[in-house]
């Protein structure tokens, strides 16, 4: 990263030197002209062909304004437009060329360039923008693709994971041939072929509290395309501390959420800034209730549409022509997408900054120091998702041992996965009683489908990974004694299969579907 920054600085310096020298050359030529023809009035007429593509008489009025706008940091501009920061000194229009964009850029971006929402000004803003995308999965792939396509100058790509085959149905920037690659690297390969004019900064690592604020400082807008509460709180905190607007989206199963946070990115304690993730969701969900896409499932277009919308919001922030009009606290809307509902899209107004917010209020207890020192433990805050370990040793059986047991009349196998997974693959003669989170409800469902807990047979529970099967086993031992007249708990014998069907596939049947 340091090397890239150094190279970038060097290029920047060289460009500035060339521009300054060209300006000096122009001035010298003008002086020469005046010395040779003292009778002519001084002229602002460009000497060589018109340098900007803008009529000469407009050049001086238009170009400095254009470049001044473009060269400002976007987050800084958002703050300035809200009166949160002093205006910058207007830089000299030193980088004049004949046309502000390269010839090929007019044709590549022409379809959006002619939109009044974008125009030349917006395209130049995009070209000068630096956007950081954290997570190159189902959200990050489409978001990055559209931002690269739109001609964002620099895209930072952060991901420490590797591409897996199960990603490819939705993470379209990756490819079958790149399974096993780092996701940021793989995304860069795709994006480079899409648009080679964009600079891609690749960070092959997970975002860490120690460095997040520093990373964010180099960018104008941050996109949260991650998949866990820990990273969502970290990214939001770092955006508040670094003063950057955050475009946050998420998706699971058939639903998605989208919200623009910390926009405008006022400093902590300034109530006119946009709220942060903690303002909306001050308490993280219980760790046990958090589902990943691997656990809960995800429909490709659902997460895709959310990622595309993130790109759209980022483009709107980058190209915004006018400051937000009001001094009232900003209340952003959350867009909720629900693929199987009607209406599919719903917009609800969220709140302004929360008075007691831990990071963005005047009572903030979290600072950049909390992050860089590592004293803020996001994993502890969100609760570690430990694997379930609640049944006694004698209530466990390995997949291998289970495979050698005679079944038939001697035992009952209860598969506690949901009906959909049971429909994908199941063991013969197993009974499907999906675990639903409530012991009483589950035991009742089991009895409803004819499971007789009192017949003295050995019960076995199995699930996908060996967690829910423990909960079900415990439900049997803890719930039944109180619900069966006259039967004692000792008559009920239950074991869960350790490691579930994942262990079954590894130990017993390698052809078992690895979904």
């Amino acid at each position: 990263m340091d090397d890239l920054t150094e190279a970038s600085n060097h290029i920047h310096t060289l460009r500035a030197q060339i521009a300054a020298t060209e300006t000096q050359l122009g001035t010298l030529k003008l002086q020469l002209q005046q010395a040779e023809h003292p009778s002519l009035p001084p002229t602002t007429e460009p000497l060589s062909p018109p340098q900007t593509g803008i009529p000469a008489e407009w050049t001086n009025a238009t170009l400095p304004a254009l470049q001044e706008n473009v060269q400002r940091d976007i987050a800084q501009r958002l703050r300035q437009e809200r009166g949160l920061e002093d205006a910058p000194t207007i830089q000299a229009a030193s980088q004049r060329r004949r046309w502000p964009l390269a010839t090929h850029e007019y044709s590549r971006y022409g379809r959006q360039l002619i939109m009044p929402e974008i125009g030349l000004r917006g395209q130049l803003h995009l070209k000068n923008a630096r956007v950081l995308i954290v997570g190159l999965g189902g959200l990050g792939c489409p978001a990055a693709a559209y931002l690269a396509g739109a001609g964002v100058g620099t895209l930072g790509l952060v991901d420490g994971d590797t591409v897996e085959e199960s990603n490819l149905h939705r993470q379209l920037a990756h490819a079958t041939a790149r399974v096993g690659w780092n996701k940021a690297e793989s995304a860069k390969a795709y994006l480079s072929s899409l648009n080679g004019n964009v600079r891609y900064d690749v960070y092959k690592c997970h975002l860490r509290p120690e460095s997040a604020v520093e990373y964010f400082g180099d960018y104008d807008v941050v996109l949260d395309c991650t998949d866990h509460p820990t990273s969502r709180y970290l990214i939001s905190d770092a955006c508040v501390l670094a003063g950057k607007p955050l475009v946050s989206a998420s998706a699971l199963k058939t639903e998605g959420q989208l919200i623009v946070l910390n926009n405008p990115p006022a400093p902590p304690g300034d109530a006119t800034g946009g709220p942060c993730y903690r303002c909306i969701f001050p308490k993280p969900p219980p760790a046990a209730s958090v589902l990943s896409c691997g656990e809960g499932g995800i429909l490709g277009p659902v997460v895709g549409v959310m990622g595309v919308l993130q790109a759209l919001e980022a483009i709107k922030i980058i190209t915004a022509a006018k400051p937000m009009a009001t001094d009232d606290p900003v209340k952003p809307t959350m867009l909720m997408f629900s693929a199987y509902s009607n209406p599919q899209f719903r917009s609800v107004r969220m709140r302004a900054r929360r008075a007691g917010c831990a990071i963005c209020s005047s009572e903030a207890t979290l600072t950049a120091q909390s992050l860089t020192s590592g004293s803020l433990d996001y994993v502890a805050f969100c609760g570690a998702q430990a694997s379930v370990d609640i049944v006694a040793p004698e209530q466990r059986v390995s997949a291998t041992t289970f495979s050698r047991l005679p079944m038939g009349d001697n035992g009952v196998l209860i598969d506690v996965r949901d009906e959909t997974q049971f429909g994908i693959c199941a063991l013969r003669e197993s009974v499907n009683v999906p675990w639903t989170g409530s012991a009483e409800r589950w035991v009742q469902s089991a009895r409803d489908v004819g499971v007789d807990f009192e017949d003295g047979r050995q019960m076995f529970t199995v699930c996908r990974f060996g967690n829910d099967s423990q909960l079900a086993a415990r439900a049997i031992t803890e719930t039944l004694p109180s619900t069966i007249n006259g039967a004692s708990a000792k008559n009920v014998r239950v074991k869960h299969i350790e490691g579930g069907f994942e262990a079954w596939r590894k130990e017993v049947d390698p052809t078992w579907p690895d979904y």
Binding site: S289, M350, T420
Partner: protein, 109 residues
């Protein structure tokens, strides 16, 4: 923990209008998985501060497992049950015909 996906109503349907004397409660994401419903019609008026206790009666465990981390909207505007509770009698009251939405954070992506 898993909830059977097929238990969540999958057919395309919008929430019908609440019958007289009731308000519409919409469930999203984890709230929908937990209740296995997309909406309920509850009796109004109901002080907003009492909504979660009311739901706990119908769906044991929902308060701790789902509601404690949710965002809540009343007629499309964010409301905070704790803030409303702190206002005492001046806190918001859900009226017949209102629409309340329970919005758990979705973090996957």
């Amino acid at each position: 923990m898993y909830y059977p996906s097929s238990a969540v109503t999958q057919e395309v349907m919008s929430a019908p209008k609440a019958p007289p004397g009731r308000f519409t409660l919409l469930y999203f994401a984890a709230a929908s998985s937990f209740t296995r419903r997309q909406h309920d019609f509850l009796v109004a008026p109901l002080p907003l501060a009492q909504l979660y206790d009311e739901l706990e009666k119908s769906y044991a465990g929902i308060k701790e497992q789902v509601l404690s981390s949710c965002a809540l909207t009343l007629n499309l505007d964010y409301v905070d049950p704790e803030e409303e509770a702190s206002k005492g009698e001046k806190g918001a009251v859900i009226q017949p015909g209102d629409e309340v939405a329970i919005i758990p954070p979705v973090s996957a992506g």
